[in-house]
């Protein structure tokens, strides 16, 4: 759409800027402050420069958490996006079942995150949980509180359960916006199912899928409450993702300096990745 240049539009944006700036800039500056200072807990602070940053970047613990975080995020993206698209493709396009499907599928999205964690915590227990009990009954030695592999399996299954519906909703929205004429044309050309998907449905879903991937990337990188309640980072440190590690440093040990530095490094990683993604998306759109 052609947009007119109008500098007065700033007034329309002003309330948003004031509100978000208040919430974003002041706390962010507090974190920057912490990350550059040292304190002995008596409210006196000393300048410490970039020491905390060096310490974090040289600590094995940080890189291990980052590695686990990356593994988690890429695994869930690889499962949730194709699965979400597949489900959206098979959903009914019209009729009363559409509402039923949408309502039931949205349910997991609206459950508070600590409830999601607590629910799966019990659901996967080998003695009293449905999932754990069934897995053991069919011969698996499943115990997610003791075995690392099982803990990861539970964590990833929980996230797939929780968030695939978001991808489904967005992909479905992209699909229903395709006019019938496209399908009729494809039918006349004798296009195969795969070709219809590849040349009609996929291009039409591109924008919504970009949004879905971006949202899932940001949110899975920030995930905190669910793994905290589900495994608490354990067994050992095996499922300690970045935010849980950060929480241990900031609120557990009250090391504000290292926690501040780590927060900013953490934030920068998400920012940079999303910026690259966003720029690519915008460039595609302008073409």
């Amino acid at each position: 759409m052609n947009k007119t240049v109008n500098q007065k539009a700033w007034f329309l944006v002003l309330p948003v800027i004031v509100l978000v700036a208040f919430n974003a800039i002041i706390p962010l500056m507090t974190v920057v402050n912490y990350s550059l200072q040292e304190t002995f807990g008596d409210n006196t602070f000393f300048w410490s420069g970039v020491r905390w940053y060096e310490e974090i970047l040289h600590s094995d613990r940080f890189w291990a958490s980052l590695g686990r975080q990356l593994f988690f995020t890429f695994t869930i993206l690889l499962i949730e996006v194709p699965l979400g698209v597949a489900i959206a493709l098979t959903m009914p396009k019209k009729g009363p079942w559409v509402s039923v499907c949408l309502v039931l599928m949205s349910l997991p999205l609206l459950i508070p995150w600590n409830v999601v964690g607590a629910m799966w915590n019990i659901f996967a227990l080998p003695d009293i949980g449905l999932l754990g009990y069934l897995l053991n009954a069919i011969g698996f030695d499943f115990n997610y509180t003791r075995q690392t592999g099982d803990a990861w399996f539970t964590l990833i299954t929980m996230d797939v359960w929780h968030w695939t519906s978001l991808v489904v909703l967005l992909a479905y929205a992209g699909l229903v916006s395709i006019p019938d004429a496209y399908y009729q044309a494809a039918l006349i050309d004798g296009a195969s199912k795969w070709k219809i998907f590849r040349f009609i449905q996929l291009p039409k879903m591109k924008r919504v899928l970009t949004i879905a991937i971006l949202l899932r990337f940001m949110d899975s990188f920030n995930i905190y409450t669910e793994p905290k309640v589900l495994t608490g980072g354990g067994p050992g440190n095996s499922t300690t993702l970045l935010s849980i590690d950060l929480d241990k440093i900031a609120l557990g040990q009250f090391d504000l300096g290292p926690a501040g530095a780590m927060s900013l490094i953490y934030f920068l990683i998400i920012l940079l990745t999303s910026w690259i993604f966003y720029t690519l998306m915008m460039r595609n759109e302008e073409q």
């Binding site: 759409m1 007119t4 944006v13 309502v103 019990i122 992209g174 999303s274």
Partner: protein, 266 residues
């Protein structure tokens, strides 16, 4: 082919419902029965857990508190996002693209990073333990999202609508409220849904910013779990009740979600 078409969504919904069934089923069991061992259905069906929640003010006020700040946040987020989204969709102005991305960056900030600074900020301005504090804090991630969604919908409305209205003698406010907002009602529905959803499910900030007066239901649950032993039945009942407001909201906006998304660029 026809069977397989039904099979995939049905299996997926079954997969979604199983953990929810387990939660609901536990809420009708006594804690003793839950701990005694595995049982697919409640053996000694009881409503005691629910009775306790509806008779204990700490519990039911948790729900009222949560609903209060979530509604405040939703209204506030959508109200400020509407004019901003209009500006982004209709005009080009200095720094517009950067501003849009800067807004989005706030959606990326890990709540774990902001918890402590938020506590200090809201304590220092005397808003600690109020609905307003949580409602304001949640605008950090909800306003950018609402702007993003609404901008998509507004861009889908042709500009001729604006121009015709001005020719017909409408002022900007009269056009905006009487013509434009009803046109993008579906978009507003979708934005409300997402704002409600993300504010309702967030716990970390809500818990950090409250202590007694505005304590959200999720915090009541975690504190009960740590103080009075592990009352699983009661927690399951409380968890089940947290699903209900969300389910009601989905039911109201279900048509908007299906149609709404399709209309906008989102």
């Amino acid at each position: 082919m026809r069977i397989s078409k039904w099979l995939v969504p049905s299996l997926y919904i079954l997969f979604l419902m199983l953990p929810i069934y387990w939660l609901v089923s536990m809420s009708f069991k006594t804690t003793n029965e839950i701990l005694r061992g595995f049982s697919l259905f409640p053996q000694e069906f009881t409503l005691e857990n629910y009775a306790k929640i509806f008779s204990d003010p700490t519990w039911y006020w948790g729900y009222i508190n949560s609903l209060a700040y979530v509604s405040m946040n939703t209204v506030l987020s959508v109200a400020v996002a509407l004019p901003a989204a209009y500006a982004f969709s209709r005009y080009r102005f200095l720094g517009d693209k950067h501003l849009f991305f800067w807004l989005l960056t706030n959606r990326m900030a890990p709540a774990a990073v902001f918890a402590l600074p938020f506590l200090q900020l809201y304590s220092s301005i005397g808003l600690f333990d109020t609905y307003i504090a949580v409602a304001l804090a949640h605008t950090l991630f909800n306003v950018p999202l609402a702007v993003w969604i609404l901008e998509g919908f507004m861009s889908g409305v042709p500009k001729e609508l604006d121009e015709t209205a001005y020719v017909d003698g409408h002022s900007f406010p009269s056009f905006f409220f009487k013509i434009f907002l009803p046109t993008i009602a579906a978009g507003i529905g979708v934005a409300i849904f997402f704002c409600f959803m993300f504010s309702w499910v967030e716990l970390l900030l809500a818990k950090t910013l409250t202590s007694v007066e505005a304590k959200p239901i999720a915090a009541v649950m975690t504190r009960t779990a740590s103080t009075s032993g592990y009352e699983l039945g009661l927690l399951a009942a409380a968890g089940t009740l947290t699903i209900i407001p969300g389910a009601i909201v989905i039911w109201f906006v279900r048509n908007y979600i299906a149609k709404g998304f399709a209309l906008g660029r989102v």
